[in-house]
Subunit: 237 residues, 2 copies
């Protein structure tokens, strides 16, 4: 992670952008722009957090790694959210890991500043709690989807959720990493991705995935994607 400067351009995180003028002005001096690289660990299982992060064009995955090394994603955060909810929810640490899934920028804020502002009970608190509820929906739907749907459907869901949170049509992501996120084997992803490629929905070469036909993905995906998207729009739109 590299610290860049104080942000001066228009804010690209939806939570911050939704703040009223005065609250944003109060927080602005406490925001620093940082840059995440692919695969960087934002926090570890049980680790202590000094900052919260508001991604702008980066994506951060929340995942859990079992004792035997197997892992699975429970949710992901982009420019519509915040990484480090334990800091305002009161737990201090979270029982999961946060890993950068798509390189890019974020704004960070010191824990103390966040907590003080949260305690004021204004719009900031309101937005953070609504985001947390949307995140709960996402995690819930991941639980259901893991139980009931095929790898191909889950891959579509994952691609669409990522695509929604990043500007470009190209995702930098190997099948190996996707397999870790979805909690399946790499070969399973190869087969599912192969089918999507054959249908013309996506194209990929060595870690570069292109969304060619978003509609095709939406036709294949299970209802879980829509549920999550609708809830995010309802709560944060």
């Amino acid at each position: 992670m590299t610290v860049i400067a104080r942000p001066n351009e228009p804010v690209e995180n939806r939570l911050l952008a939704a703040l009223p003028e005065d609250e944003y002005a109060r927080l602005l001096p406490s925001l620093q722009q940082v840059s995440f690289s692919l695969g960087e660990v934002v926090y570890e299982f049980g680790g202590h957090l000094d900052y919260v992060f508001f991604p702008t064009n980066s994506i951060v995955s929340l995942l859990y790694t079992m004792e035997n090394g197997a892992s699975a994603e429970m949710g992901l955060t982009g420019n519509d959210g915040v990484v480090g909810i334990a800091l305002f929810m009161g737990g201090g640490t979270m029982p999961n890991r946060a890993v950068v899934q798509s390189a890019g920028g974020a704004l960070r804020m010191k824990a103390k500043v966040l907590q003080d502002e949260f305690a004021r009970g204004g719009k900031f608190q309101y937005l953070l709690l609504r985001y947390t509820q949307a995140l709960i929906t996402q995690i819930s739907q991941t639980a259901v989807c893991n139980r009931l749907h095929s790898v191909e459907q889950q891959l579509c869901r994952w691609l669409l959720l990522s695509h929604d949170r990043v500007k470009a049509d190209e995702l930098i992501m190997t099948q190996e990493l996707i397999a870790d996120m979805l909690g399946v084997r790499r070969e399973g992803v190869t087969v599912a991705a192969g089918r999507l490629q054959d249908s013309g929905a996506i194209g990929y070469v060595r870690g570069h995935i292109k969304i060619l036909d978003r509609q095709k993905l939406e036709d294949t995906v299970c209802e879980c994607y829509r549920v999550v998207k609708d809830e995010f729009d309802r709560l944060l739109g």
Copy 2:
């Protein structure tokens, strides 16, 4: 649901019990004791909530039902929690259903009272948010467990979580209902439960499950149970 009276005995919900004297005194007049029957729906998908519920000796499951009727549980709430977090998180409605999984009592509180007290920012807010974080852990672990573990392990996890939240060693619950909770087929539960019965861990007849040897269940269960339990103890203990 039947409304009984105003509670006068010692409070049996851990969240309420953790309140300081003055806050509890302020809330007491707004609490009504109610009785839930097995299978009762506390709230529906997208439904509006007039009350939150603090279970005393009942257990309420949060589950999601797909368009095709298949369902899966994302978490469960007993005397250590509250049903209806959307009311203080700000969403108003939740994209899931809440169903009584074990008949028993709860204390209910009008939404308006809850929200006013929450806005004061005292210990009540603190407790509700910490509980919500513990719930997030539970849902997350359900997601991971659904992906990576066997039906038998998940059944153990479910039995242990339920056993922790109810006084008795006997659970009133058919295999059919457990199958809906776990998002698996009824026959799958029959087989898994049969193995646990053979090993002497449990005994059951027509909807009455007895925990005979808790240790055996803990030996069989996956790590997911421990993670959830530890996090509840840490955050609410």
